[in-house]
């Protein structure tokens, strides 16, 4: 075989890292992204990235990072790969540092570290409160360097439609659409790495960016890539509600000393700043004295829901609590948190250095994703690899804050060389695949566009999307009740049926964003069912998955990975054992030290 060819789909942290690893070994990469890669959703990550560097002399170790991650994930993650990630983390920080990331520094010129949820150590390196942006830019710059040397070819403004599979079910490339000309084209590759991010749009409003629809994952699922632990959805405790999106207020606000509270008397009309300490209810600190405001996200989110919906202590009867940093010196806030405080100030017109912020939990992250093996990010379809938020491997039932940036870079760094090794070992590469394999996939996708654009129904895409988001947010986020999940699934079936009768308000073939969104929405409706059905089946409470009817974790019956398959047009849930070879499961509690 001649030189192998690798495609990477998605230009966030995972995709860029995979690209760099392949390109630096001298093999060309085609990089596909809906948006210019510098505008990927990774830029929204705020607080930091975890690595047990023990820079503060607290006795932190990679073993402790590993234990915190497994415990925080309620023992659902397969352990060996998580262990490898935690061990690799300090080296990854060094690499990012060498790439020139403007991390905050100590007076000695070393990296500064702060605290984050679910740990008692200062383990989180950070660049202000825009760490994701800074890391993405560093990788973007490295990819641009490889691009200028001809090793990377970018296809920005292209959306992935489907994998090209040969008769033996082996991936030989992708089918993608140029979002300007709306042309559908196929691209050959010996291996494809998917780094297509989160699924926020399935929940209507979330902290995710517009492109985070899960459409690529759903398309691949329908082509035979299994989807694991879909029911594990992280709801971040502190977001600013908005009609277009829920804007994240990073956990780092609490890592730097921010406190969550409500007035003890819900009728208290005094301005927040004038309410004396004794009349404030710091409920996280009272309920979880050891971790306080830095309990993991699932715990903090449920506590806020309890305060608002059961204790009826929401601010002025509304769905909001205070996140307060106004007691922290202004100089510290500006040096360490400016990015997020600016967001609050710009979008709400209130200075959080002076007034406590009003926040409420919002859909944030999917722990579940495409099934990948325990060694090297390979999915169950030969030639297809996955890394980053779109796969399921690292976070179990709940992700710890500042672990996602690490899992993206580690996973992407693993997937690149793995895909390359696979491609080099192929007896017959994509170059010897019959051209009919490509042309039939192209025709299929063109026909799909044509069918969509000529539908003559009365349904509106935006209305179906809103109903999808409302259904998922109400029934498939923080509290899950079986009869409601059944209702939600019935609703999803109804929406899919109505989707068959949509009428596209734009039928032109130049930069038609409506057609693209229609394709995404069709895929979202199916992936939503994978999430809802997984939640319905899992009769226990574990990490972010909470069922009042089954309030305890049930290791005897449910210490297993959900592995959804798509068989003859039906979603089929199967289960497999979790690898707990390193740390035996134990009860998870945050009111005392572990």
């Amino acid at each position: 075989m001649k030189q192998p060819k690798i495609i990477v789909v998605g230009g966030g942290l995972a995709g860029l890292m995979a690209t760099i690893r392949v390109a630096e070994s001298g093999v060309p990469v085609d990089l596909f992204s809906i948006v210019p890669v510098k505008r990927s959703h990774s830029v929204c990550a705020q607080g930091g990235i975890n690595a047990a560097k023990n820079q503060k002399g607290e006795g932190d170790t990679t073993a402790k990072h590993f234990d915190d991650t497994i415990y925080g994930g309620d023992f659902l993650a397969n352990q060996p790969l998580v262990k490898r990630m935690c061990e690799a983390a300090p080296g990854i920080i060094d690499l990012l540092d060498r790439m020139g990331v403007m991390f905050n520094r100590t007076p000695e010129g070393l990296l500064d570290y702060r605290r984050f949820g679910g740990t008692l150590y200062h383990r989180t390196a950070f660049a202000g409160a825009t760490t994701g942006q800074q890391l993405l830019y560093a990788l973007d710059e490295q990819v641009r360097r490889h691009e200028s040397e001809g090793k990377v070819k970018k296809y920005e403004g292209f959306t992935f439609l489907s994998a090209v599979l040969d008769d033996a079910g082996v991936c030989r490339g992708i089918c993608a659409m140029d979002l300007r000309s709306m042309e559908v084209k196929t691209f050959a590759a010996d291996a494809v790495i998917f780094c297509t991010g989160g699924v926020g749009a399935i929940f209507g409003r979330s902290t995710n960016s517009v492109v985070c629809t899960g459409s690529a994952q759903s398309a691949l699922f329908q082509q035979g890539v299994d989807y694991a632990n879909g029911e594990f959805i992280q709801v971040h405790p502190t977001a600013i509600p908005g009609e277009d999106k829920l804007r994240l207020m990073s956990e780092s606000a609490r890592g730097e000393g921010g406190r969550v509270w409500v007035p003890r008397n819900p009728l208290d009309k005094r301005p927040a700043k004038t309410i004396p300490e004794a009349d404030r209810f710091y409920f996280l600190e009272e309920w979880y004295p050891k971790y306080g405001n830095l309990v993991p996200r699932d715990i903090a989110t449920r506590a806020i829901h309890r305060i608002v919906f059961q204790e009826k202590l929401g601010l002025a009867g509304q769905q909001a609590v205070y996140l307060d940093v106004s007691h922290i010196p202004r100089e510290t806030l500006d040096r360490k948190l400016e990015g997020i405080l600016e967001i609050y100030e710009k979008f709400l017109g209130v200075d959080p250095r002076e007034e406590p912020m009003k926040v409420f939990p919002g859909m944030h992250y999917t722990m579940g994703g495409m099934w990948v093996n325990a060694e090297d990010q390979a999915t169950n379809v030969p030639g297809i690899y996955a890394a980053g938020e779109c796969e399921y491997q690292y976070h179990g039932a709940n992700r710890l804050g500042a672990n996602s940036l690490m899992s993206c870079i580690f996973g992407g760094g693993l997937a690149g060389p793995a895909a390359l090794k696979y491609a080099k070992n192929l007896e017959k590469g994509a170059d010897s695949t019959d051209s009919s394999v490509f042309s039939r996939e192209q025709k299929k996708q063109e026909a799909k566009n044509q069918e969509l654009i000529s539908r003559e129904g009365s349904e509106n895409l935006m209305v179906i999307w809103r109903e999808l988001g409302d259904t998922m947010t109400e029934h498939v986020t923080v509290t899950r009740i079986n009869k409601n999940l059944e209702k939600a699934d019935a609703k999803l079936v109804e929406l899919a049926e109505r989707f068959g009768r949509v009428n596209l308000s734009d039928r032109t073939m130049w930069s038609n964003q409506t057609l693209n969104f229609a394709r995404e929405l069709g895929n979202m409706l199916l992936l939503a069912r994978v999430i809802a059905l997984g939640a319905l089946a899992r009769n226990e409470s574990r990490g972010a998955h909470y069922k009042p009817e089954f309030p305890e974790r049930d290791d005897a019956n449910w210490l297993k990975t959900t592995r959804a398959k798509y068989v003859n047009g039906e979603i089929k849930l199967t289960y497999e054992q979790v690898d707990i070879s390193q740390i035996p499961p134990r009860a998870r509690r945050y009111d005392a030290a572990k």
Binding site: E24, P36, H41, L110, E243, D244, S505, W510, Q513
Partner: protein, 250 residues
């Protein structure tokens, strides 16, 4: 019941680069905390003009909706700014929305800003690391350097600084303030400084720093508050110093 408050929006539409531009006006239901993105989404849901004419949803670029991805820059009431942070209540109505004018138009409000990414290549805006394998820690960086560099590295490539610059026009290749500021950032980093000369040389070529005419519009338009004029002054000094030294050595 009082009548529902309305928001009047006028949008410059253009179906493709080859077709003529036209204006369309929309009347939308006002809600609290409405921004320009919400207006565009309302139109997508019901693409009917104020005059009752059916039209298509508006094409535009957007992604993060929290002013950090740089996608949704457009002209709003004549000012280059991000649509996501443009709150309706703070805007004079009718709100006029147009695409950025200094970049090739794609459709409606969507433009092609590839020029900025190509310019980043031109000035080698990266730290040339030896490889991603384990080579130990990076160089020590003083808090002073970090505090000066971090704001520069906040550039979201939105293009606002190019849009407002009188030197950026059809006849010029001027790279613009954002790129010059990136040169300052990389030349400030201990490893980046080893290759400062290459970047300065690139900026001495046509379209480089000498094309700046000191209008200082860029710094006022930057949504991230980057000290662009300070960057231009500093890079200018360094570039001239390098050029003069080169001269004397000859």
């Amino acid at each position: 019941m009082t009548e529902q408050k309305q928001v009047i929006v006028r949008i410059k539409r253009q179906a493709s680069p080859k077709e003529a531009a036209r204006w369309e006006e929309f009347s939308l239901s006002w809600r609290p905390s409405m921004n320009v993105i919400i207006c565009l989404r309302d139109i997508a849901e019901n693409p009917v003009t104020r005059g009752g004419k059916k039209t298509t949803p508006v094409s535009y670029d957007s992604n993060c909706l929290e002013e950090i991805c740089g996608s949704c820059a457009m002209l709003i009431n004549g000012k280059a700014r991000m649509a996501c942070s443009a709150l309706v209540d703070a805007l004079e109505q009718p709100i006029r929305i147009e695409p950025l004018s200094k970049f090739p138009l794609v459709r409606d409000l969507a433009v092609d800003r590839q020029f900025m990414f190509e310019s980043l290549k031109r000035v080698k805006a990266w730290i040339p690391i030896d490889g991603t394998y384990d080579l130990g820690e990076g160089p020590r960086v003083s808090p002073e350097i970090q505090e000066a560099g971090y704001p520069l590295s906040n550039c979201i490539s939105c293009g606002s600084c190019l849009e407002v610059c009188p030197q950026v026009n059809e006849n010029s290749k001027f790279v613009g303030a954002a790129i010059i500021s990136q040169v300052r950032l990389f030349n400030m980093h201990p490893t980046g400084a080893m290759h400062a000369k290459e970047r300065l040389t690139a900026l001495m070529e046509p379209g480089g720093i000498q094309d700046c005419a000191n209008a200082q519009n860029c710094v006022k338009a930057c949504p991230k508050g980057i000290p662009l004029t300070e960057s231009i002054a500093e890079v200018n000094r360094a570039a001239w110093k390098q050029a003069l030294l080169g001269w004397f050595v000859k």
